[in-house]
């Protein structure tokens, strides 16, 4: 089952930040592939959601970019800024709290994945 983009939208920032924390620096395509691989294809980040989010994170000062030339084209690597590093725990605990609340709200029994 592939999760709908509406579900992913609200958590995308946290997902991206966490990937950047684990992998130091990544480019866009790499992020989508990594997430896809980790979730056994269940979460497929669309390009239309990923890049606006990355640019917003950059504008917020949570990620920084560095560019490298790959032949004729430019590859942009994204990595966490110090501000991003300090925000990430906050974001994750907020999401965890949200998931607990949803479990309670929707009456979901704890289950093993």
């Amino acid at each position: 089952m592939i999760y709908s983009s509406e579900l992913i939208k609200g958590t995308l920032k946290t997902i991206v930040l966490k990937q950047l924390e684990n992998n130091k620096r990544m480019y866009g395509y790499e992020i989508t592939q990594k997430v896809k691989e980790l979730t056994s294809d269940k979460i497929q980040i669309t390009e239309g959601a990923l890049y606006p989010t990355l640019h917003a994170l950059e504008a917020d000062g949570l990620v920084t970019t560095e560019t490298e030339y790959i032949g004729k084209r430019v590859r942009k690597y994204y990595s966490l800024s110090p501000k991003g590093k300090s925000t990430i725990d906050e974001k994750i605990s907020e999401l965890a709290d949200f998931m607990n609340t949803m479990k309670f709200l929707l009456d979901i029994q704890p289950q093993t994945i």
Partner: protein, 374 residues
Amino acid sequence: MYCLSDSQIDFILNDISARGIESVSLQQDLLDHICCIIEHELEENGDFERFYLATVGSFYKSELREIEVETQHLLTHKNYYVMKKIMLYSGTFAAAVLSFGIILKFMHWPGAAVCIVLGLFALSFIFLPLLFTLKIKEKQQNTDKAILVVGAISAVLISVGVLFKIMHWPLANMMTTASLMIMLFVFLPVYFFTGIRNPQTKVNTTVSSILLLCGCGLILTLVRIPQTTHFQRLEDTAYFFRNEQILKNEQQLLSVEPQDLNAKEIYTLCESIKSQLLMKETGQKAITADFETKEALIGETWVNAYLSGGTEKNLKELQQKILAFNQANGSKSGFEPIPENAVDFWSQAKVKDALNNLVQVQMLVLQNQKILLE
């Protein structure tokens, strides 16, 4: 694994830019992304063009530009929150500092001017412009936008006008009058007649219009009309003229030239400062009985606007002479010292008060002369 040629990369870049992706940074991101997908997923001898179109087609719902629009939306949305925050903080700051400044002013404690200026600055140049920028985004119709523009202009003008007024800076009256006129004759009619047509906003519009009209009315009640100003100036001039007459009569009655050198100089210095000030204020060297027909009236100008052309030098000299005069005669019985601050006009004194003070100094010189002769 497919190997992309330079011309294919150029083709992709041109295509995504033709599809409405204008931001260079986003172009770079998408170009690399598409190239990665093609390199990883297309077989070595696959059909580049077909695969590219299918790939780019999976990026959007109706057109590729969505990504750019969404990015712009997220970025302005971020500014929106920052602006809202600054607006709230600057508004709170302005209100707090202004109120504090007014308390200081009423209690005649120091720091009032700094607080009031800071508060009004924050109000007129940070809070109101931000409020305007945020509100105009919410308005859809052009009339609503126009009302907001006019309202914002008159609000900024009125607060800057009041700031200039209390600081005695130029153009204050013009700004305040202009803002009230705009408010009453442009903003209010447009606001009222557009709001009253909509049944939902009818009551609110009427109440706000009444409040606004009454508020402007209250301010205008406090304004002195030009005619009153004219009467005031006539009275002030007549008052000074009478003082001058009395001084002249006293001087003739005494009929003895002052012996004290300081007294003599004080007297002549006062005369020349008076004529300098009168020249600048009325265009005449002295006030004569026909001042009303000549329109040679003393107004409410501040003395510090007239200090050029030797007046300031004369005033300083006068102050020194008064000090010397008081010191030389202080021990004599019956001597009435001239108050040292009598000619301290630098900070806040109006021409009419300065002129009358100078006459008083001369009277004191004459009076002391009489006492010292006895």
